[in-house]
Each structure stands twice: as structure tokens, then as C-alpha cells.
Amino acid sequence: MKCSKYILIFLLLSACFEPDEILPKSKIQTTEIRLNTTNNQAAYLCLSELSRSYDSTGSNWHLRFENDANKWGIFLNTLSQVAVYNTKNTNFDSITEYYNLSQADWQFDISTSEGLTPSIGDWGDFSFDNPKSFKNIYLISWPGHLSRLVYKFQLLDAQNGSYHFRYGTLDGSLDKTIWLPKDEQYSFGYFSFESNEIATEVEPRKDRWDICFTFLSDSLAKHEGIPHLPTLEADIGLYQAVLLNERLNQAAIDTVMSLEDTDFFYAKNLPYLEQKEIYELFYTWDDDLKMIEVNPKLIVYLTDGNRYYAIRATNFVQSPDGTFTTELNVKQL
């Protein structure tokens, strides 16, 4: 009888669920981001594979066009100081070299509560499947070798997922019409007036980056004391900023938990907000030393609901040739 008791206990307790093995902690990885105002205006980073960074070498562009199916925004290259003025005139030939440019009130893209807002604004009626353009003539200006160059630019229409526009010099020596197709693999399509062609190698495919370090224009009043790059407008400056890919755009900022100690369970309980861009993310202005320095306690958390990343900046260096180098720690949670 005693024996049967032991057999019974053995049967009840043996063959159970296997315990989980213990795995090492996930590592903190380090990478460097380099930005340059002239030849590398944006650096794209894939957080799951830091070796897959992408530098935007094709920076000689003036306009970028949204590629999403229902979006038709046209943005300026503010880092190249591209500006726009809406003449409200719809006759392309009537805008000539005699047009009074001194009356032009040049505009830049600027950050609003809804994110970076294109200064070209609503160029047509978007209630149609294929937007109907108002056909206003815009003047596009950017710095040339000796003086600023000015082109005229008219959105003709948009059909079958393509932008159709006409542009040319004011003296009529150049008059071209272009179809710029939307490619939804990329966030934007880019166009250069200098090379008269669609610019490539500006950004990687959407599925190959998570976060983009770049410069964005904004009002000086919003960033008091922070150094900025100048624009044509005295009260608008260019600041370092990050753009978030829409596939990983839930962001939270925390200064309580260190990167070494943070984990998935801490991260998933933080309050997240959907963001497109964040200005001056990792930096603070040291008033005593009069210099920018990184805040190593500030951790940015990014998630899409499944993947969680914590990012910290550990060092920031500005070299005389205009290169800004930021050292980052990235921890996947």
C-alpha cells in the first residue's frame, strides 16, 4: 500500500511543463549619426539593424512630394534655403523676368501643432479622387552661386497617382512639363530644378528605416537660446530634429529609468503619443558653457505596439566643417 502511495505521488507530480531557460540580457548597441548641412542633410537609421544606416547623399533637391495614396503635400528643402511665393496668377506666360520680386513675401515650411506644414499649402481641391489644381503660379527661390535663383512653378493636375507640373525660368529660356509618379515604397518623391530631374538616393525605402535625423525649420521663439542655422527669414531657424517613420511613430520620453535598467515591462506602461517629428530631442543648452550638450538621462522610447526601442544620446560633437556627430545607444526591449 505504501508503494502504491509513492507511485501515485510520482504520477501526479512527474511530467510537467518544462521550465523556461534563462537567457542573457539584451545588449545595448551603439552607433553614430553624422549630419552635414551641405552634403548629408539626413541620416536614416533602422533600429533593428543599426548597421543598416542610410546617409542622404542626394541632397541637391528643391521640392519633395508626398507619396502616400491620399496625401498631396509638397514640401521645400529648407536646409538648402528653398523658399516659395504664391503669385495667385494662373497664366504661366504672364510671369516674366519683369515680375516685381521685391514685393514677394517668401515663405518656408514651418512646424505647427499638426507637424511640419508645407508653405505651398493647399494647391488644389482635394475632394476629387484626382485633385483639381487651382493652377496658381508659385515662385521658387534658392541660393545660387552669386545671387538667389528664381523659377516659376505651376501644378497642372494630378492623375493616376502622379503629380503633373510645369516649371521654367522667368525669362522663358526653360519651360518644362514633368510627370512625377508616386512610389509608395518611399515616403517622398524628390525633384531638383537644377538637374531638371527626379532626385534619387535621398531616402531609403520606407520599410528600411525607423528614424531619420535631419534639420527642420521652425520659429526661433519656440526654441529660445538653442543655436540654429539661419534662413532667409530672421525669425525662422533650422534645428536638428528627428522624423519618425509612420510604422514606428508612438513615442514617449522618460528621464526616470536608466537605459541599463529599463526593460519591456517598464516601456510598455509609458504614455505614448503619435509623433511625426521631434525637435531638439537629445540636446540641452548649457547656459554656463554656452554650448549644446546631450542629456544622457533622457531616454526616448519608440514603439509600434509590438516592437519597443529605447534610445539615448551619449555624445555630441560639432566639427569645423559643419558636421554634427551624435553618438547613440539603442536598446531593443
Binding site: 501526479l12 512527474s14 510537467c16 518544462e18 542573457p24
Partner: protein, 654 residues
């Protein structure tokens, strides 16, 4: 080996031989050939009509369950000829041609085991250690209005009139599974009690060697089954049965690349069934039975985030996980049976109610429905050569109205060893509960429709049976035409738009003597899943063989089960696009060896399952157009566990 059914059959046959001898003398005297034939037919009808229910297609005995080392109802259904089973993701799909498990009634000791079959059941939660045998019947004449096109009947051990008896067994496998149970009985002839306890642990099946992720999660189940009989008077008895099981399944997720984090899905099923039956003889030929049942099911699914470095785990409350469900079921039946020489009949009423105990009300609507059925069946036998059975069930559903469901069966016995029967019946299958009640935000699927009507199955079953003392054979055709199958409409709402047909042709033999039993069977299914929209007909064959062998003058038994299934194709329609799913064929073979000791009280068994080691097979998905089809994906489905050796020790004090 002999079974109760075989005993009944051999009893009738010996009577046949006795009468036949007298008739031969009579014929010699009269030399009347015609009368000899009539006499033979008369004897045959006695033998066949009373020997067994001719709707029974297949019987699976306890020994055969042991050969395949099946430990739960899901594993047992994988053995039954005609049924096709595979596991993909967290769900196991079992079907008979175009009928899935939600349209096949499962009864235990002749009472419903699985509510209305439309709430989704995890059959792993149902133990089989208390079963003696299982029968599969095609289109039987029954009082059931729902899902009775095919009925799977489970039968437990009969009450024994012994003061005390006990049976216990333990099975251990090379897959680290362990199954142990004990069944005991007490009786003083007035009160009889049977109680069973069981624990079953089934190890996980991993996606691949060395990976953490599981294709089929590990499962642990505890069971407590009780049966009690009170013989109140000689003509009145009370039966109470309670089945209780608690099943925990742990589906492990893969380790996220570069991390120590995983996401697991745990499932906990709690199932409680309480059944009572009061039966009394109201006259010499009439029996009145009052049955009642309450059944509660909880299937809780939780998503668990785990860090395998810190050991921290937390429940993830996101909605991106399978839905937890729970249902309460109430059932009551009052039945009067009359048994006379030629005319038998039964009539009564049946009430049932199904309600959701997890989402009791959704957007102000109570997720519950009920029905009542009035039924009547009559059977008339003319001169023992013809038997006519028929009846009707009038079902009223609280949501969708009334349905009159007729059934009729004609049995002829033209020769002494030949019986032909034809059955027509109409039955209902309720749509999946979530199609009626769960909104898109819960299911992520189409918009629910509370007025979704039941699916109607019209069945024609023709069967030819040949029987002699040594061998029994049957062949037949089962044709099922279904209408009002739920489909998604253009506005993404479930509607009763679908139709399907299936025709199954089968042939089976049962050769049995004192030493050997061989049961081969072959089936060909012809199926059209989308009769309303396309002409795609698919055929898939299968061959099954069940063999048991007793070696004379030893205490040794051998057994083999083989199932050889051909390629199986089905079609479905979603968003006006027709898809085909094609599952490759598979072959499953199991064998066992049993040795009996100590006056057959102790049994030692060694079994090997899935000898061909076919565990996973490809399931291809095609998108189809009018002339061609294009492969769009392949999934690996699990059809069996890998090759496993098991040892079983069983001891009985009777």
C-alpha cells in the same frame, strides 16, 4: 475477442441456425423452394433488424483507442474513418467532407455532450479513459433535431453489480507524456456509484528541433467523472452523471530576435457537466424518461509577455489575441417510449438554452438563445421483411423561428444475409455563436447577424449490408445537401447564402473469430463546398484498417491501426474571391503488444504510434479564377505527433 454487440449478433445467428434446420426438414418434405426463400428472409430480418442499428457505420473499441494511445476526444476522432483532422495555429479542425465538427453531434451515453456544437470546443478537454466504445452513425433515426446527419456516440462502462471494483492505468511515452487514471465502482444493487479520476500531461510539439516556439502547446488535464444510479423501484431508476475537466495548454512563442523576450499564449479550459435522468416504467410497454443537463464551459486565453532574463511575466491585455469565451447550456427532455411486437414509437419534448457567460450582453443585446423541440418517431415492421421508420421534429428557435424536420427510413431484407436500407432525413446546424452575436470589434471578422438562420442538411443514406457468422460487410452512399450556410455578403455581413453538397461512398468489412479481428474500410468523398457559386468538385479517397490478434495459448495480444488518406482539397469564398486549400495525403500506422498477467488482472502494453513518422504535411492555398489557380501560400499543418513509444500498465480488481 468478443464484444457485447458481437454477443447479441451471435445469439441471433444461433437462433437462426436452429430454425433453419427445422425448415430444411420442412422443405425436404414439401419441396417448396419459394417458401424456403421467404423463410430465409424472415430469419434474416430477425437477425439483422434486431442485431444492430443499421445506421452505424463504424465502431471503435477501447482496445483500438489503446493501440493508438489516444488520450482525449480530439485524438480519438483522428482515428475514425471518414474524419479528416489537422492542427494549424491554435486550432484543430476536424471534418467529414463538407461537414465540420460543428455539424456533427457528439453524444455520451445517448445524451448531448457538446451543447449545440456551435460555440467552438477544445476536444482535448474531454477524456476518453472512461469510454468502452464509440460508434459513428450516418443519418440515424433519432429524436435529435440538431447536427444528426452524422452522430458520434461515446459509451462509458456499464454499471457493474459488484460491491467494489477498481481499474487503474498509467501510460508513459518517449515524448515525456504521462497519463494516469483510476476508476472505481461501489454497489449495493440499490445504489451504484462509479468515480473516476485522471491526470494527463501531453508534451509540446515544437516548431523545430532547438526552437522554443511550439506548433502544438503542451497540455495538462485533470478530470473527475462521477456516475451514480439509484434503483428507486424495480421499475424506476435515477441516473446522475457529472463530468469535470480542467485543461491548461501552454503555447510557447519564439524568442524575439536579439532579445530575451517572448510572448506565450496560455489557454485554460474549465468544463463542468451535470446530467440527471429519471426513468420509470409506466406500463408493460411504456417507459417515461425525464432528462436534464446543465453544462458550463470557460475557455480563457491569455497572452503572456515574458522576459527570459529577469523571469518577469505579465499578462498582455491587448485585443490582438484569440477571444476568451464561456457558455452555459441547459437541456431538458421528456420522452415516452412504447415497445410492442410490430409497432414501436417514441414522442416527447426537448428544451435547451445556450447563453454566453463571458459577454452576457453586447451593445445591449443579450447573447443567448433557446429552443424547444417536439418530436415523434414511429417504427412498423411488416412480416419481418420490411421495416418502416419515420418521424418528425418541430423545432422552434427563439431567434429564427420554427422548422419542421422530417425523417424516414425503409429497411428491406430480401435474403437471409442481405439487408438494404434507405434513409432520408433533414436536420439543422446552428451557425457559429460568434457569427450571430459577436461584433467586428471582438472578432475582427465580418459583421454579426443575430437573425442568421441555421444551416439545413438534407441527407440521403443508402446502405447494403451482408452478414454471415464469420464476416460482416457493408457498403453505401451518404449524400448530404446543405443550404443556408453562413457566408459574408458584399456589405461584409454574415448571411445565409451558401450551399454545399457531399457524396461519400464507402465499403467496410468486419472479419472476426476467436483469434483475429480485421476491420478494413475504404471511402471516397466527393465534395462541393461552394455549390452556390462554383462547380468545383473535389474527390479524396481514404483506406483504413484496424486489426487485433490474439495469439492462441498465450496471454499475448497484438494490434494494428492504419489510416491512409489521399490529397484533400476544399474551397472557400471570401470577399468574392474563391480560394482552394489542398492538403497533401498522409499515412498513419500504429501498433501495440499487450501481455496479460495474474489471471488477466495486470496488463502490460507497449505501443508505437505514427510508425511512418508523418507529423506535418503541407497545406497549400490557391487563389482561383475561371480557368486556373495560383499558389499564394503554403502552411505546415500538424496531423499527428512524431513517432512515439508508449508503455502502459493497467491493473483491475473486479
Amino acid at each position: 475477442m468478443s464484444y457485447p454487440l458481437d454477443c447479441a449478433l451471435s445469439g441471433h445467428l444461433s437462433r437462426y441456425y436452429c430454425i433453419d434446420k427445422k425448415n430444411i426438414d420442412f422443405l425436404k418434405r414439401k419441396n417448396n423452394i419459394l417458401r424456403s426463400l421467404l423463410c430465409s428472409a424472415f430469419i434474416a430480418v430477425i437477425s439483422f433488424c434486431h442485431a444492430q442499428d443499421s445506421s452505424v457505420f463504424f465502431r471503435l473499441d477501447k482496445e483500438e483507442i489503446l493501440i493508438a494511445n489516444a488520450q482525449n476526444l480530439e485524438e480519438v476522432l483522428a482515428l475514425i474513418p471518414g474524419l479528416n483532422q489537422y492542427t494549424l495555429g491554435l486550432t484543430t479542425h476536424t471534418s467529414f467532407s463538407t461537414l465540420d465538427l460543428s455539424q456533427i453531434a457528439i453524444m455520451k451515453d445517448d445524451y448531448p455532450l457538446l451543447m449545440d456544437q456551435n460555440v467552438g470546443y477544445d476536444l482535448q478537454s474531454i477524456p476518453v479513459w472512461d469510454l468502452e466504445y464509440i460508434e459513428v452513425a450516418f443519418s440515424p433515426i433519432s429524436t435529435l433535431a440538431k447536427n444528426s446527419t452524422i452522430v458520434i456516440r461515446l459509451y462509458t462502462k456499464k454499471f457493474l453489480d459488484q460491491p467494489f471494483w477498481i481499474e487503474t492505468s498509467a501510460t508513459n511515452t518517449t515524448a515525456n507524456d504521462l497519463h494516469a487514471n483510476v476508476l472505481l465502482g461501489l454497489s449495493n444493487k440499490v445504489h451504484t456509484l462509479q468515480a473516476g479520476l485522471g491526470r494527463s500531461f501531453t508534451g509540446a510539439l515544437y516548431d523545430s528541433e532547438g526552437l522554443r516556439s511550439t506548433a502544438v502547446g503542451g497540455a495538462e488535464r485533470y478530470d473527475m467523472n462521477l456516475q451514480y444510479k439509484y434503483q428507486i423501484l424495480k421499475s424506476m431508476e435515477l441516473n446522475i452523471r457529472s463530468d469535470n475537466s480542467r485543461l491548461s495548454v501552454r503555447n510557447k512563442g519564439s524568442i524575439l530576435p536579439g532579445l530575451s523576450r517572448v510572448q506565450d499564449i496560455n489557454q485554460q479550459v474549465n468544463r463542468h457537466l451535470l446530467f440527471g435522468s429519471l426513468k420509470t416504467q409506466v406500463s408493460k410497454n411504456h417507459t417515461l424518461t425525464l432528462d436534464g443537463q446543465i453544462h458550463r464551459l470557460k475557455n480563457e486565453i491569455s497572452l503572456i509577455d515574458k522576459d527570459l532574463n529577469s523571469g518577469i511575466s505579465e499578462q498582455n491585455h491587448t485585443e490582438q489575441k484569440p477571444l476568451s469565451t464561456g457558455f452555459d447550456y441547459g437541456y431538458m427532455r421528456l420522452k415516452l417510449d412504447a415497445t410492442q411486437d410490430q409497432l414501436n414509437y417514441s414522442m416527447g419534448i426537448e428544451l435547451s438554452n445556450t447563453s454566453d457567460n463571458t459577454y452576457a450582453t453586447i451593445t445591449g443585446i443579450r447573447s443567448s438563445y433557446g429552443d424547444y423541440t417536439a418530436f415523434g418517431n414511429i417504427s412498423y415492421q411488416y412480416r419481418n421483411t420490411i421495416r418502416l421508420e419515420g418521424g418528425a421534429r418541430l423545432l422552434n428557435n427563439s431567434l429564427t423561428g420554427s422548422y419542421l424536420l422530417p425523417t424516414v427510413k425503409l429497411t428491406l431484407a430480401p435474403q437471409k444475409e442481405l439487408q438494404i436500407s434507405g434513409t432520408y432525413s433533414q436536420t439543422l446546424s446552428y451557425p457559429n455563436f460568434k457569427y450571430q452575436f459577436y461584433p467586428t470589434r471582438l472578432t475582427g471578422e465580418a459583421i454579426n447577424n443575430i437573425l442568421l438562420k441555421p444551416r439545413v442538411n438534407n441527407t440521403l443514406h443508402i446502405k447494403l449490408t451482408i452478414d454471415n457468422p464469420l464476416i460482416q460487410g457493408s457498403t453505401g452512399i451518404l449524400h448530404v445537401r446543405s443550404a443556408d450556410i453562413p457566408r459574408t455578403s458584399e456589405n461584409n455581413t454574415y448571411t445565409n447564402a451558401g450551399k454545399s453538397t457531399s457524396t461519400t461512398t464507402y465499403a467496410s468489412l468486419n472479419f472476426s473469430n476467436d483469434f483475429i479481428t480485421i476491420k478494413p474500410s475504404a471511402l471516397i468523398h466527393g465534395s462541393n463546398y461552394l455549390k452556390d457559386t462554383s462547380g468545383f468538385n473535389f474527390f479524396h479517397p481514404e483506406v483504413n484498417i484496424f486489426t487485433q490478434l490474439h495469439i492462441p495459448n498465450t496471454f499475448l495480444d497484438l494490434g494494428f491501426i492504419g489510416r491512409f488518406l489521399g490529397k484533400n482539397t476544399s474551397s472557400l469564398i471570401t470577399d468574392n474571391t474563391i480560394y482552394q486549400e489542398e492538403q497533401n495525403g498522409t499515412q498513419q500506422l500504429s501498433a501495440y503488444l499487450r501481455y496479460k498477467l495474474f489471471a488477466e488482472k495486470l496488463h502490460l502494453s507497449l505501443s508505437i504510434t505514427n510508425i511512418y513518422n508523418e507529423s506535418r504535411i503541407a497545406r497549400d492555398t490557391y487563389i482561383t479564377n475561371e480557368i486556373d489557380r495560383e499558389l499564394i501560400g503554403t502552411a505546415q499543418t500538424v496531423v499527428a505527433k512524431p513517432i512515439t513509444y508508449a508503455i502502459r500498465i493497467a491493473y483491475a480488481i473486479l
